[in-house]
Symmetry: D3
């Protein structure tokens, strides 16, 4: 969407939020290396099952920005889908979050994916709106 | 619900179906021991990820039977919940279907849980309605 | 939808099922006059609460019939909505099923509405498709 | 999934149904060329709006067949998705059903897509299970 | 809800938000008159299909205000429904947003309805709570 | 979850919100003792039906707090479930809100449960996150 012809003659002043929802399926185990076996069992219960379990996850990404008066959009939701695919779905979908995803091996194992993702800023997102996930 | 006082004076003639939905979360891997590694990868794709993935599952159990004229019910759905807990949820919830559930170790590993459950008749269900799951 | 001009020149031969879903909200109490207080409490549990409780209900009505080649419809779903309003929603919505609905006062009180409705044939439905609810 | 190594040594005897749900978005207008303007307005109401309206549609395709004992599947749901993409989603998604889809120009215009699709057998589906949509 | 008898003796101090969800079905086309045909195709993709497509839309309207101590309500949700019918559903439901809705002919055609509605203040709403849509 | 071994060596600095959804079923009647019969009927309409009606309710409780670096959690959602059971579900589920719940007898009868619950702080919740419902 770059190019001279896409520059709006007048800067838009309306701020809008656009949310896209994608989903993925993954396995994980709630387990903290800072706790002993008994504590892990007591705190995480059935979620501490050694062989893991799994879920379907929904991820909502919200982009906030000014409406581009030329396109009427804050962000092209097709473009947003591609960013979400690259940054979230491909690395997490049909994976074992504890064993297959490097990001989670450096934090307390078993911390919920949805939580951890909040600090993973994606560098590919365009400048007029930034997304944390 | 047994006992003399619960015998209806007149046998009910209306057949009704009652469905209850429960859910569980589990990990699994689609993998067939009858196929080699390459075939497993080609057929199951990302579902063949060696470390597994997972889902939330919904299980619907339908009981068909005559309405008990004394209670107005085919089956007490609280009782049905207990049977589903015993026969489905406890053995499968927050488990790794391939590693933690003996039933699935004797079949083609990775065959979908929902499918395999259809032949697991639960002996505890009362006589006036039988349930396959 | 009656009238000469709506008679199709050739009888349609394809059978189709059309389902419409409506909803209503009502209070009720599970209670059988054939049982004593203790039995009612034991069998229906919290659903036997003397002051009642309530639910949102969904009602699905399926019409099966031949496609009218002139209109392409088995039944006009707007027309179906009106029949469901008349036969189901008006008498049940925002009512106490046990106290406000004559139909339920003649059966075991507390028998589930969804069940009881299955024998209530609505006389207003057109001849080419009949609906039981 | 063809090839000698995928032939099961023993024929499976269990019949299973697998359902996949896909969705598409399309515009249409309820309008019958067999009726005059007034009749069209009376029968279809707001759905007869000359400039059309639109919906999100859900399509369920159910495949019934014997379980392949080698793969544990009736049909690979990834393969089923491809067939649905080819036969349903590509020709209908983000289209005007009345103007962009040849199939619907030969029937009563405005007949619902969900209905019409029931007679469109897809030739690409494998032999052990056939799908009508 | 006007009238002397509805004035609460003591001003309520609790602020509450009430949200109502309604839905409508409409056709539209993503297209910007500021862009040429090739750019429109590149940016909007299948959403730029010349004959349009459509969706089911959900609209959430949130009213924030003090609880009226006499009625226990911020706004009567039946009244809110009427405002939403008048301001949103009637002008948009079963319409072609680009061709049938004057509001959208003065903005970039194809800009999403949900976005554009955010600046359409409805004059009929009562004074103690204002709604933007 | 108290105890020396659960004290993180370094205070966490990331604030996270965790939301849990539970549901209950209850009967109620919209009725204000400050209004006469005619006004009650006019304002609340069918919701003023003397014998009551009912709904399924969903309750969302959001806990905001710092992530405990030892457990990776703001609050154990199993623990949160217990608090919601004690403070919300047990007193309200399968009850008549007007007749069975003391909290509602001291406010305008018929005011919506969801609204009234916003000021009911639960004393059992731990100090690092407080919940209003």
């Amino acid at each position: 969407m770059e190019g001279r012809e896409l520059q709006a003659p007048v800067k838009a002043s309306r701020m809008v939020m656009v949310t896209r929802v994608e989903s993925f399926s993954a396995a994980h185990q709630l387990h903290s290396n800072c706790l002993n076996a008994e504590e892990n069992k007591r705190i995480y219960g059935k979620c501490n099952n050694p062989n893991g379990h799994g879920h379907n996850y929904k991820v909502e990404v919200t982009v906030r920005g000014e409406v581009n008066p030329l396109t009427g959009m804050v962000i092209n939701i097709t473009e947003l889908k591609e960013h979400m695919q690259e940054a979230i779905i491909k690395p997490l979908d049909h994976k074992n979050l504890d064993k297959d995803v490097p990001y989670f091996t450096n934090v307390v194992r078993g911390t919920r994916a949805g939580t951890q993702m909040t600090s993973n800023r994606h560098p590919a997102l365009p400048g007029w709106g930034s997304v944390d996930f």
